[in-house]
């Protein structure tokens, strides 16, 4: 302190006056520099977080997206391997592999070198992610390589590639989590640093100001002290001149001036005395000179001080300029906040918004004016009350909070954002405001969700897709093999879904599928998996069941769940489904075989008339194979004209002459030779081919009948079989009418043979159709009478002209009394109803005699002639073969 006083004492007055402004200037510059430095650091942090870090994650996400796409394509491709050649498989897979290579190479370029500022753990995660993508690339290459060597190995290797793909997704998720944590830490440490810098600047400013104040006090004291000394000297001089006066004035300078004036007056008094004392004054002259000199000195000093004040004034002007510069810096800082991509909100302590930046306005979609004064969180958030309460509690206690909140947009939609809240404290350290800095995380979350669902879920119903299902089933099979338990697979197909889709449109169909999906999911245990394979096909897996019957129980539950009506888009639907069950290990030990067999079982359920379930059996699988072969052959048969008609004559038992023929279809298969109708008609009915085949038969038969008529055999009638399916599926009336018109055959020469099954379904519409056929003029006969229900009511209700007695009766009429009497009864009854009777399958003379005796109208069978090809039949007609019917006449 002494040293400082000495130092200041050694300075001239001019310099002393300059010390305080100079130090003030230095302090101001230092504080401004520190402030700018701090704001630049904050800015750099925001920049780094928003550009570099997020850019890296964007790159990872893009790579993963790309690899997912390639993987899905590769997966599909390898699933298809059974159908394509190795080289075509290679060409297609290679294109995918090249893209995988490219994606991994790009990722290595982007993420292969250390990221600035990352720690060891992050580097390890990043490298693990990189390594997992490389491993996946190798696994994918290997899967393709093995598939091209031996296609049978493809499923096993695509499983390995799948495993590596999953590992890669896991590594990516870990990296993402760590990255998110890292960004969070970076931002909060940056904010904390900013706060510390601000505190240091404030404290330094305060300390500097206090020091300056002290220094100014010391300096002013020094200054006034030297001036007081002057005044004292002057007064002293006045006293010595013999004048005593008191000096008045507000400040030192004025007092010096007053003292000088008073002193001048005393000098004038002295001059008066001078005359008197002239003689005595010689000695005093010396003192006068001294005084003169002192006065000069004083005047000089006054002038000097005036100049110094002028200089101090200039110093203030400089300070004002500097303050303006500082203000400009503050404006720049405000502009940074205004233009940053982060949403920034300043609130009071209760969360009322005081200021927001445009990024925040944009993110919530509200105007600046609407936001000011509202509550930042309560008005604009979808978080629970409890969550909000905890946030405020923690914020009030700690002065800061970091985390994820749900912010509500103006349209009510919520989005997730990452927010940092910090209190801004006043000079006393009390929080005065809160600053909320937030970033919209919607895109990040969405891409993460999307990624997960992309590869493994059906986008319409949200159920697992085929790929995920196969994965899970494969996993369940491994467990079941180890634990020696069973795994059930149910293949479920909605009945008549196509009708709904076609009649009400796809949007309704889709909504219905979603409702069905929800229902299925609700009806199953948690451990079961239901997946959608596409269309209206669903598949269910039950891991570790104890008995195959357990699968049946589940199937029953599903049927029951579906049986309740569904309300979809204002329509009420009664949905039924057909289910097929296969069980590991008895029905197959790979997922492909189990699925295929469950599918086959489902088809059998459909055959059984929908809304039921069936188990798979080995026989069923073989049947299915044979069916598929036969089916394609049937399609070809029609095109290649492999069908032909044979004709079996009917003989009138009154005349013994041929009265007509029954047209019978034969299939001349190029490899299997003649295929009898019972081996293909049923299949043709199921696949709908019966309609074109039936039409061909009708047309060919009518043309042939017309040809015989033209050759003089004009009484020949033609009988053609109509199956029940053909009758229902098709506009049979229109077909018959058209064929008759085209061929020119008079309708009374056409006889349509129907089986009982025609009458058993929907009898009103059948009745109507039969009446219309009858109205055309054709004859109707009831085939195979006696084998089915043989309800007499058919005969009464329907307009039947002819009853054909089944060959099983004919066979036994001569051996069994029961059959003989039944047959007699049928003939008698038919006669009483005005119907003709024809006995089928007559092979012996005994049988012929029986029917002659009982006045049956006609017979057909080997006894007279087996079915003949067209030429044979024409020859038979030409030779005029007839039957001796004398027995009847003689008896």
């Amino acid at each position: 302190m002494n040293r400082l006083t000495n130092f200041l004492g050694g300075l001239s007055l001019r310099r002393r006056l300059l010390v305080a402004p100079l130090l003030g200037l230095v302090l101001f510059i230092a504080l401004t520099a520190a402030f700018i430095y701090g704001s630049m650091r904050q800015n750099a942090l925001l920049q780094q977080v928003s550009e570099q870090d997020f850019a890296a994650y964007d790159q990872y996400a893009q790579t993963i997206g790309n690899l997912s796409e390639q993987h899905a394509a590769l997966y599909d491709l390898l699933q298809e391997t059974m159908k394509i050649d190795e080289e075509v498989l290679y060409d297609r897979a290679k294109a995918r592999l090249n893209k995988i290579h490219l994606a991994v190479n790009d990722l290595e370029k982007a993420a292969g070198s250390p990221v600035p500022g990352e720690n060891q753990d992050e580097a390890a995660l990043r490298n693990a992610f990189l390594a997992s993508t490389r491993a996946y690339r190798e696994a994918a290459s290997s899967a393709v390589a093995m598939a091209t060597v031996n296609i049978a190995l493809a499923p096993r290797h695509i499983m390995m590639a799948n495993k590596h793909f999953t590992t890669m997704i896991h590594a990516y998720r870990k990296l993402l989590d760590s990255g998110r944590e890292n960004i969070r830490n970076q931002i909060s440490s940056g904010v904390r640093q900013g706060q510390a810098t601000a505190a240091v600047i404030t404290i330094a400013g305060a300390v500097g100001a206090v020091l300056l104040l002290g220094l100014s006090i010391i300096l002013s004291r020094f200054l006034s002290r030297s001036l007081e000394a002057q005044i004292a000297t002057l007064t002293d001089l006045g006293l010595q001149a013999g004048t005593s006066f008191s000096v008045h004035g507000n400040d030192e300078v004025e007092r010096i001036a007053n003292a000088t004036v008073l002193f001048k007056q005393s000098l004038l008094q002295l001059r008066d005395k001078e005359q008197a004392l002239a003689e005595l004054n010689k000695a005093l002259m010396l003192t006068m000179d001294d005084l003169q000199r002192a006065r000069n000195e004083l005047e000089y000093r006054v002038q000097e001080r005036t100049q110094e004040l002028q200089e101090a004034n200039d110093g203030f002007r400089v300070e004002i300029e500097l303050r303006k510069v500082a203000e400009r810096h503050v404006n720049i800082y405000a502009e940074i906040i205004r233009s940053t991509g982060e949403a920034v909100v300043i609130t009071d302590l209760r969360g009322k918004i005081i200021e927001v930046n445009p990024a925040y306005e944009k993110s919530v979609g509200r105007a600046h004016g609407d936001l000011i004064g509202t509550s930042v969180y309560e008005n604009n958030s979808a978080d629970s009350e409890e969550f909000r309460r905890q946030l405020w509690q923690s914020l009030d206690a700690d002065g800061h909070w970091t985390g994820e909140i749900l912010t509500r947009r103006h349209d009510g939609e919520s989005f997730s954002s990452w927010v940092l809240i910090n209190a801004v404290r006043d000079e006393n350290g009390n929080p005065g405001h809160y600053v909320w800095v937030s970033r919209d995380m919607t895109e990040l979350k969405k891409s993460e969700e999307q990624l997960k669902r992309l590869a493994f879920y059906d986008s319409m119903t949200g159920l697992p897709n085929r790929a995920l299902f196969k994965d899970r089933l494969a996993g369940a099979l491994i467990i079941a093999q180890r634990q020696e338990t069973l795994v059930g697979v149910i293949y479920l197909d909605l009945d008549r879904f196509k009708v709904i889709n076609d009649s009400l449109g796809h949007p309704v169909g889709d909504a219905l599928l979603q409702a069905v999906a929800a229902k299925l999911k609700g009806a199953l245990r948690k451990s079961d998996t239901v997946a959608r394979l596409g269309g209206d096909e669903f598949v269910i897996m039950m891991p570790t069941i104890a008995r195959p019957e357990d699968a049946a129980t589940v199937a029953k539950t599903l049927l029951a769940a579906l049986s309740r009506p569904l309300q979809v888009e204002g329509n009420e639907f009664h949905v039924t489904a057909s289910l097929g069950i296969s069980v590991y290990p008895q029905d197959g030990d790979t997922h492909d075989i189990l699925l295929k067999n469950a599918d086959a079982a489902m088809y059998r359920a459909k055959e059984q008339g929908n809304n039921n379930f069936q188990f798979y059996t080995r026989q069923l699988g073989e049947d299915a194979q044979a069916r598929i072969t036969l089916e394609s052959a049937l399609h070809r048969a029609l095109e290649q004209r492999e069908f032909e008609l044979h004709y079996q004559p009917k003989v009138d038992l009154k005349t013994g002459q041929i009265s007509g023929v029954e047209a019978l279809i034969r299939w001349r298969h190029p490899e299997r030779g003649m295929v009898p109708p019972d081996q293909f008609i049923r299949l043709a009915e199921e696949i709908g081919l019966i309609v074109p085949i039936g039409e061909w038969v009708l047309k060919t038969a009518c043309e042939q009948a017309k040809a015989w008529h033209a050759n003089g055999y004009s009484n020949i009638s033609m009988a053609v079989n109509l199956s029940a399916r053909q009758f229902r599926q098709h506009d049979i009336l229109g077909t018959v009418r058209r064929v008759l018109a085209d061929t020119g055959l008079p309708p009374e020469y056409l006889e349509l043979e129907l089986t009982e099954s025609v009458f058993m379904k929907d009898s009103d519409s059948v009745l109507e159709a039969l009446r219309q056929l009858k109205a055309l003029g054709v004859f109707l006969s009831l085939d195979d009478f006696g084998t089915g229900y043989s309800s007499l009511s058919y005969l009464r209700r329907f307009p039947i002209d002819v009853v054909k007695i089944d060959r099983s009766f004919t066979r036994d009429v001569t051996d069994s009394d029961d059959d003989a009497s039944l047959t007699k009864a049928i003939i008698a009854m038919a006669k009483s109803l005005n119907m003709r009777t024809v006995a089928e399958g007559v092979e012996t003379e005994g049988q012929l005699n029986f029917f002659l005796e009982n006045r049956c109208d006609a017979i057909q069978g080997y006894f007279f002639s087996r079915p003949l090809p067209t030429d044979g039949m024409t020859a038979l007609l030409r030779e005029g073969k007839c039957l001796s019917v004398t027995f009847a006449h003689s008896s």
Partner: protein, 230 residues
């Protein structure tokens, strides 16, 4: 009878070779863009057609390595330095390679350079059949290479196929199925299958025959080793 057979061979070979010449023109052009037309292997003649030429030398024989053990190992960690990490020749494959080598001797087919892929199954095939090999890394399995490398490998293999071997010898290349697909649009199937090429000027080549592994052996058995040339 021999007259009849010669006439048969000539009349069959001439149109086939012309047909292949045209097809290969297309393949050379399209292989650059890796869009490959359906393989013409069904139209290529067998060993019979080229045996004479092979005995004179001047052709290039591309072997796909002999039969491998497909179930024993995963292929994805393959380390070129360690055979045990790779898919290797099965016992049958080793026997196959040895028998092919014996057939070459008995058929008096002169073999010059034997160039092999760095994979052990190829090196072993070369060693067992011909007692020697030189590794060329450009024969690396293209399924495991990226697009850039694949292109480079294909170009290199095309160059090998168009480079005439030393006078009086045939050059042997042992590599993989996919590599030939990339270079010439051909897919050697099954393992051990060979394609025989004739190098032409200007970096071009003709595929002249496709030989199944058992064809060498059957031919050697049907012709006693002391049969002189016709």
């Amino acid at each position: 009878m021999p007259l009849y057979r010669n006439w048969m061979q000539r009349s069959m070979v001439a149109p086939t070779v012309i047909a292949i010449f045209f097809t290969l023109g297309t393949i050379n052009a399209s292989a650059q863009t890796s869009a490959v037309t359906p393989s013409p292997e069904q139209r290529l003649p067998g060993l019979n057609a080229v045996l004479d030429q092979l005995q004179k030398g001047g052709l290039i024989i591309y072997f796909r390595h002999a039969m491998t053990d497909q179930n024993a190992i995963q292929d994805d960690d393959a380390d070129l330095a360690k055979c045990e990490t790779q898919r290797n020749l099965s016992a049958a494959g080793r026997e196959q390679a040895t028998q092919i080598g014996k057939a070459f001797q008995s058929l008096r087919i002169p073999v010059g350079t034997v160039t092999s892929s760095p994979f052990c199954r190829c090196k072993d095939t070369g060693q067992l059949a011909f007692g020697r090999y030189v590794v060329d890394n450009n024969l690396y399995f293209t399924i495991k290479a990226d697009a850039e490398q694949t292109k480079q490998f294909a170009a290199s293999l095309r160059k090998m196929l168009s480079t005439p071997p030393a006078a009086g010898t045939n050059a042997v290349i042992v590599s993989h199925s996919a590599n030939l697909r990339e270079a010439a649009g051909l897919w050697p199937k099954p393992e051990g299958t060979a394609y025989i090429f004739r190098p032409l000027a200007d970096g071009r080549f003709d595929a002249v025959a496709r030989v199944l592994p058992e064809d060498w052996i059957n031919m050697a058995n049907s012709k006693p080793s002391n049969t002189s040339r016709q």
